[in-house]
């Protein structure tokens, strides 16, 4: 399987594991989309990289240790950005009634798999 196919496969499995997700974007840490299931992926990819980059810096500056994820919570849902190694980011969005604990559990493990490939 090519790298791209492996990434598509992970994307497919993540969609299956968490069907409540509204969008999924895997991007490089400098904000370019790699694989996605989202409308407006280029913009989401750039914003995910910004959120992760800023999150990392805030985490460092305020002595929170290494960053786990950056969460944006609106009254209609969540946008969560996970580090996928030092080259990638995984961004997902979910409705407000989604089970955030379950999303973290799955997404962190998928982010780990992505990190291996990227």
């Amino acid at each position: 399987m090519t790298k791209q196919e492996q990434l598509q496969e992970i994307l497919r499995e993540l969609k299956q594991a968490l069907p409540e997700l509204r969008s999924i974007v895997v991007a490089s840490t400098d904000g370019l989309p790699i694989v996605h299931a989202a409308v407006d992926a280029p913009r989401v990819a750039a914003m995910a990289a910004t959120a992760l980059g800023l999150g990392k810096r805030i985490s460092q500056t305020t002595e929170l240790g290494s960053l786990e994820e950056t969460i944006v919570r609106g009254n209609q849902g969540y946008f969560v950005v996970y580090a996928a190694g030092d080259k990638g980011v995984l961004a997902v969005s979910a409705p407000a009634d989604a089970n955030l604990g379950l999303i973290h559990l799955e997404a962190r493990s998928f982010a780990g798999r992505l990190a291996q490939i990227l």
């Binding site: 840490t29 400098d30 280029p42 980059g53």
Partner: protein
């Protein structure tokens, strides 16, 4: 005197992060990520750079933007409440001038603040000087300053020029 918020912007590789690191009197807040494109450097700013600087008694807060168009939302976020803009362009990379012009229009049309242009890499000829760059952007020569972003004295000159322009604007009101 109130601190002044200044935004430092410009295309990728213009020297925005370098200038802020050169000038800041406090530890710089940067947000570098590894690059996946061929942009002639290993890392790039994805959110912002932040540093502080005194010019005389005046305290400046310097906010550097990412360079790529895809981060244009950060140009807006960081320009909010800014009182001046420093636009940097690489003097040895005229192919970036068109992108720089779009970026300058994008920001100044949404955030009409006084601005100055810094033409970097003046220490590395052959390089375009301010007198060549100014006509391209249709700017008076007093708004375009040639600099070396790694030299503290040189890097401060466009900010000094910006403060002078801001003072003139105030007097004119």
């Amino acid at each position: 005197m109130e601190p002044l918020k200044i935004v430092v912007t410009g295309p990728v590789g213009a020297g925005k992060s370098t200038l802020i690191r050169t000038l800041s009197e406090t530890e710089v807040v940067d947000t570098d990520a590894l690059t996946s494109e061929n942009i002639g450097k290993e890392t790039t700013t994805v959110a912002m750079d932040y540093g502080t600087l005194h010019l005389g008694d005046q305290l400046l807060y310097l906010f550097g933007t990412p360079g790529q168009d895809r981060f244009d939302f950060m140009w807006d976020v960081l320009s909010d409440g800014a009182l001046g803009l420093l636009m940097l362009i690489r003097g040895d990379k005229p192919e970036d001038f068109v992108a720089a012009r779009k970026q300058l229009d994008y920001i100044t049309s949404r955030h009409p603040v006084p601005y100055v242009m810094g033409v970097t890499r003046q220490d590395r000829p052959p390089v375009w000087g301010p007198e060549e760059v100014a006509p391209f952007f249709g700017l008076p020569l007093q708004r375009v300053v040639g600099i070396n972003a790694t030299d503290p004295q040189s890097a401060a000159t466009p900010l000094i020029r910006l403060l002078e322009l801001m003072l003139e604007d105030q007097r004119a009101v």
